[in-house]
Subunit: 225 residues, 2 copies
């Protein structure tokens, strides 16, 4: 551990035959420890880190929170979420544009999860590749920010198909953009009728009560098992 | 060709030994025909298509413009740029998160370039993988939109390193965001001192005079060779 107070782990992708088998290994670890893992996915700059900072601030007195920051490079996000009060590890993906289950398991081992209730994996900013890999998480949450536009379900359908919850982020900036919320929700539900959609703003806090109720429910359901 | 008036070509990635060799094949085609190819890259929703629509509208009376729309799925962008007055082909990448040189060559063949002066490749929306592949283009242009934030050069350094021109897009929305332009430019130039940075808005037209001067210079330089 360096003087930056969190570890940087090089989790370059290894070519493994069976990601599903590795994902089951992750689930076994999580189930044994009764820890929730959330796979948080979005485009670059959609607001993943800002969302985590607010979640950590709101939930840290109630739950012990860990964050795995996956990036091609840099540790700026790890510094930010650590300052908010989470236990953090920075994962460098060695150029890989996504996390897979093996990288995630190594991240959990590096982070150390014995003292945690929930871990957020902030995936690499990318709407394509992260959707293709089951990392063994309990839930997949995606953010689609208002500036990206309401047509994104048409162009990146897999991300909307595999996620359990879609946050429509940066709602405070909606007046500056032409975003058709009805068309967006219709496009999402054509791909994934079960997906929950929450309108949020990490800047103003809009929608975070519902988001946090959703996350608390996932944690408590797992604890009660 | 279907009744949609443009072709959809399935350009799934093939595992080829040598992308650089394929990129040279693309360059040979472009040089023989004296056509410019621009590789346009950005995050999902950064404004690639809107930028192309304005460029086509402004330049179509002076140059014959082709567009290759690369997407994992859908043909919404192809319809949009065709309506603006470009010759268009839609490339479906078969799940691939980027274009490589072989896919680009097949795209050029599908589009047909004998009657064109310039071709724009609208790459898959992604700040990671497209940066890793030389597709044989004359120039690489990237867009970083204001809502994505000024820290992106730290997190996606390769894209800023390999591009010739960085458009800072959606400048009309700057009042709604905290974007430190000086810090952004400094971060870009630490990675790539030669990179040109232009502040633009495809909605208002801000900065398009300089952008078009830049593109015209690339076209005329190639014609003069």
């Amino acid at each position: 551990m360096s003087n930056r107070d969190f570890e940087i782990l090089e989790t370059k992708e290894r070519v493994l035959a069976d990601n599903d088998k590795e994902a089951q290994r992750v689930r076994d670890i999580l189930n044994e420890k009764k820890i929730v893992l959330i796979n948080l996915m979005a485009s670059p700059g959609a607001g993943k880190t800002t969302t985590l900072v607010r979640l950590i601030s709101d939930l840290k007195d109630r739950y012990r929170i860990g964050v795995m920051e996956a990036d091609v490079d840099s540790d700026v996000d790890a510094r930010t979420v650590m300052a908010a009060g989470a236990k953090v590890i920075q994962l460098h993906t060695g150029g890989s544009c996504h996390m897979d289950a093996d990288m995630t398991r190594r991240g959990l081992e590096g982070l150390g999860v014995d003292d945690l209730d929930i871990v957020f994996l902030e995936n690499v900013g990318n709407l394509v590749c992260p959707a293709e890999f089951d990392v063994g998480a309990d839930k997949r949450i995606m953010i689609l920010s208002i500036p990206e536009g309401d047509d994104k379900p048409l162009k990146y359908p897999l991300m909307f198909t595999v996620s359990d919850l879609c946050m429509v982020g940066k709602m405070d900036t909606a007046p500056a953009f032409d975003f058709d919320m009805d068309a967006f929700c219709r496009r999402v539900h054509e791909l994934n009728p079960a997906e929950e959609i929450l309108q949020v703003s990490a800047r103003t806090g809009e929608g975070f009560d519902k988001l946090e109720d959703w996350i608390v429910s996932v944690i408590e359901t797992k604890k009660a098992k």
